[in-house]
């Protein structure tokens, strides 16, 4: 019997090798470059360089602001939609959900191209409302990723709790703020994770509408094309640290890897 079990375990060997070589090792390489100077000596020079430079710090702040606003706008639009869909009793509910989720599977560069064309027609020149256009395109890109986790949480909501609150004399507003909203926190958190982190690094949306970008993702790109791997690695480490913190916070509120499971369940 022992021999047979052993053969099934062996199936993991290729993937374990792959993970070590192409997932763990790249991170070690990035760590190495971030904490060394050109001669290979350990140094924090690269980090000082990042945090003392007004332009790079400004980029960091700007990316966080863009990501925050995008996330809040997505949440404000997605919550009512998810709520109506989850609560509603109209027929074809599932078909409607599919309509909201379907854009996730269309190549995002093509969708942003479409949005850019429309905005150009409406506004004449995209230069007038740069910040508004940026947020609009980001929201357009990420909205489906917010709707899906919210919907999943809201449909699983225990209806008897809402009825109990009503029976105990709560009005509709109270029921929403005291029962529905607190219970949907896991969905909110996993939606926020799925929108906030990518929108901090998705420089392509900006790149496509304005040909130039000032968010964290594009900094890596500019250092990379200048063969400056040390500073590029610093940006990666800073992004990794932020991702780590956000994921830790979100894991506290959801049962473990909800957000990633959400992303995995895309189809």
């Amino acid at each position: 019997m022992k021999g047979n079990w052993f053969s099934r375990k062996q199936l993991a060997i290729p993937y374990i090798m792959f993970l070590i070589l192409f997932v763990v090792l790249p991170l070690i390489v990035v760590l190495y470059y971030a904490f060394t100077d050109g001669d290979g000596n350990v140094s924090f020079e690269n980090f000082l360089h990042f945090f003392q430079n007004g332009k790079t710090v400004g980029t960091l702040v700007y990316s966080v602001i863009i990501a925050l606003i995008t996330t809040v706008v997505c949440l404000l639009i997605a919550y009512p939609v998810a709520y109506i869909l989850a609560k509603g009793s109209f027929c074809g509910k599932h078909a409607f959900l599919m309509l909201f989720v379907l854009p996730m599977w269309i190549n995002f560069t093509l969708r942003i191209t479409a949005m850019k064309e429309i905005l150009t027609v409406i506004e004449g020149n995209l230069a007038y409302y740069q910040f508004f256009n940026t947020i609009l395109c980001m929201v357009y890109d990420f909205l489906p990723f917010m709707i899906l986790p919210l919907y999943n949480t809201l449909t699983k909501l225990d209806k008897s709790l809402i009825e109990a609150a009503h029976d105990l004399g709560a009005d509709k507003v109270q029921v929403f703020f005291k029962v529905v909203l607190p219970l949907s926190v896991p969905g909110i958190i996993s939606g926020v994770t799925m929108v906030f982190l990518p929108s901090m690094t998705n420089y392509v949306v900006l790149d496509m509408i304005y040909n130039s970008t000032y968010i964290m993702g594009s900094l890596i790109g500019s250092y990379f094309s200048a063969y400056d791997w040390h500073n590029g690695s610093v940006i990666s480490i800073i992004l990794l640290a932020m991702i780590f913190v956000v994921t830790m916070i979100s894991n506290r509120f959801t049962d473990g890897d909800d957000a990633s499971a959400e992303r995995a369940r895309r189809l």
Partner: protein, 265 residues
């Protein structure tokens, strides 16, 4: 009144999501070069799309790459999930943890780190497809792993042992007993890998050979002042992809309704 408000909300958001795509769909069938100026009906964009060698290469290349990456990721991820599932707790925990890295990591960081690994440590030639395929596989495989694992947990484990007791070899039992039970997870993992690869921009842009373009990298370059012909041909491409995605979603949902799978979405 409440009903009207609710459906207005739903339809407004749908309008926001679909208006840009649908307008492009309409305009892809005209000979206008700018949105807003309606001219006559024309299939010229589709002709350009299918007769310009550069565009055909890019589209075929993207799909061949996606299928290749999808197959490799599915094999690697499925075998990895089965292996890890039956391994010791510590091994399983380590694989689970490492598997999460590409899932939560920013794609830019994944692409950048794999690229400098390839160039600085392995000295791989960037004009080959090796870095590109490895980069995309490292993004996609974790999702295959994550969609196969729950199926393994739900599986009836006594069937495998029964097969062995009845004289089946472990390899045969794997293919006749385990694989058939987890096949829905494998299929949805493959589909996820496919869509991730088709949608990927960040990893491709760091790891692709300079002469090769995927749809994403091509479109991003094309928006920065390409010729009008190419621009409007890309409207046709958007239309075709929109139709394809809608069809796939529609068909897979009919299957779900018929009870072929109990999976959500």
């Amino acid at each position: 009144m409440k009903k009207i408000m609710q459906s207005a909300c739903i339809w407004l958001v749908l309008l926001f999501l679909y208006a840009p795509i649908l307008i492009l769909v309409v305009y892809s069938f005209t000979d206008s070069t700018m949105i807003g100026t309606i001219k006559g009906f024309s299939l010229q964009n589709y002709v350009t799309l299918f007769t310009t060698p550069e565009l055909i290469q890019m589209i075929v290349g993207t799909f061949v790459l996606a299928i290749g990456v999808g197959v490799i990721s599915t094999l690697l991820g499925t075998a990895g999930a089965i292996g890890a599932f039956y391994s010791k707790k510590q091994v399983r925990g380590a694989v689970d943890l490492a598997n999460q890295i590409p899932v939560i990591n920013a794609d830019v960081v994944t692409g950048f780190s794999i690229c400098i690994l390839m160039i600085a440590i392995f000295k791989v030639d960037k004009s080959t497809f090796v870095p590109l395929v490895i980069g995309q596989v490292s993004l996609c495989t974790p999702f295959v792993y994550l969609s196969v694992l729950p199926r393994l947990k739900q599986m009836d484990h006594q069937l495998y042992e029964a097969a062995l007791d009845l004289g089946c070899t472990p390899a045969k039992a794997l293919f006749k007993v385990i694989i058939p039970q987890i096949i829905p997870g494998i299929v949805s993992g493959f589909m996820t890998a496919l869509t991730l690869s088709l949608d990927d921009y960040f990893i491709s842009t760091y790891t692709k050979p300079a002469t090769f373009d995927t749809i994403s990298t091509y479109v991003v370059n094309a928006t920065k002042g390409a010729q009008t012909e190419i621009k409007t041909a890309l409207w046709a491409l958007s239309t075709l992809i929109f139709v394809l995605v809608t069809a796939v979603v529609f068909i897979s949902n009919i299957k779900v309704k018929n009870g072929a799978s109990d999976e959500k979405i």
